[in-house]
């Protein structure tokens, strides 16, 4: 069964600290995505990747970096966390097919104090 695993599930960080959110997929999908979910905004795309070694900016990339060291792993990095980055973050993977069904992880709840 397709699986996307995120870690940690919950994280509390301090303002100005560095935060790394990790995502692992066993679907062998080329494409991976990071979204954040906030009340009133739905899901917004932060970064995505076509495959190992590639990262692309999504709709709201400011303050975030991404890393795709392998087909399976895609990380989201907050170099200097701010309270405005308090949110729930979702990782997803998708294939190259035209319909592009996405498979989501369970989410990481991040609080920046």
């Amino acid at each position: 069964e397709a699986a996307v695993t995120q870690s940690p599930r919950n994280k509390v960080a301090v303002t100005g600290g560095k935060v790394t959110l990790s995502c692992n997929q066993t679907n062998n999908h080329n494409n991976m995505y990071w979204y954040r979910q906030d009340t009133g905004h739905g899901l917004r795309l932060i970064h995505y990747s076509y495959g190992a070694g590639s990262t692309e900016k999504g709709d709201i990339p400011d303050g975030y970096k991404a890393s795709r060291p392998s087909q399976e792993n895609f990380s989201l990095i907050l170099e200097l966390a701010t309270p405005s980055q308090t949110s729930v973050y979702f990782c997803a993977s998708g294939d190259n097919g035209g319909q592009n069904t996405l498979y989501f992880g369970a989410g990481t709840r991040l609080s920046v104090l």
């Binding site: 494409n31 979204y35 739905g42 899901l43 979702f90 998708g94 319909q99 592009n100 989501f104 369970a106």
Partner: protein, 114 residues
């Protein structure tokens, strides 16, 4: 620019009653459309999808959706809801650049009461 609008932020329905969730989209080409469901503290799961063919598509757990090109709509329905259907439902449109992922509506929170 493409967009998805779900006009109802919240819907409350009694168990056993029917449910319809509305979705309107804006897109110049042929749309790929999806409905995803998010249960509490979980990620999103695919309910159903539409690309072409029969405008009524069947999904999991008794859900179906009807595509209308003339109305730019993709409404979700279920004939008889169960308390376990309480969740947030998202209507989603595939991006022009499919590798960029999907354009999400804001979601409709469904509460099913016994």
């Amino acid at each position: 620019a493409q967009s998805v609008t779900q006009p109802d932020a919240r819907v409350t329905v009694s168990e056993g009653a029917s449910l319809q969730l509305r979705c309107k989209y804006s897109y110049s080409g042929t749309p790929y459309l999806f409905w995803y469901v998010q249960y509490p503290r979980q990620g999103l799961q695919l309910l159903l999808k539409y690309y072409s063919g029969d405008p009524v598509v069947q999904g999991v757990n008794g859900f179906e959706a009807e595509f209308s090109k003339s109305n730019s709509s993709f409404h979700l329905r279920k004939a008889s809801v169960h308390w376990s259907d309480s969740a947030v439902y998202f209507c989603v449109l595939r991006s022009n650049n499919y590798a960029q992922g999907l354009t999400f509506g804001l979601g409709t929170r469904v509460s099913v009461f016994p």
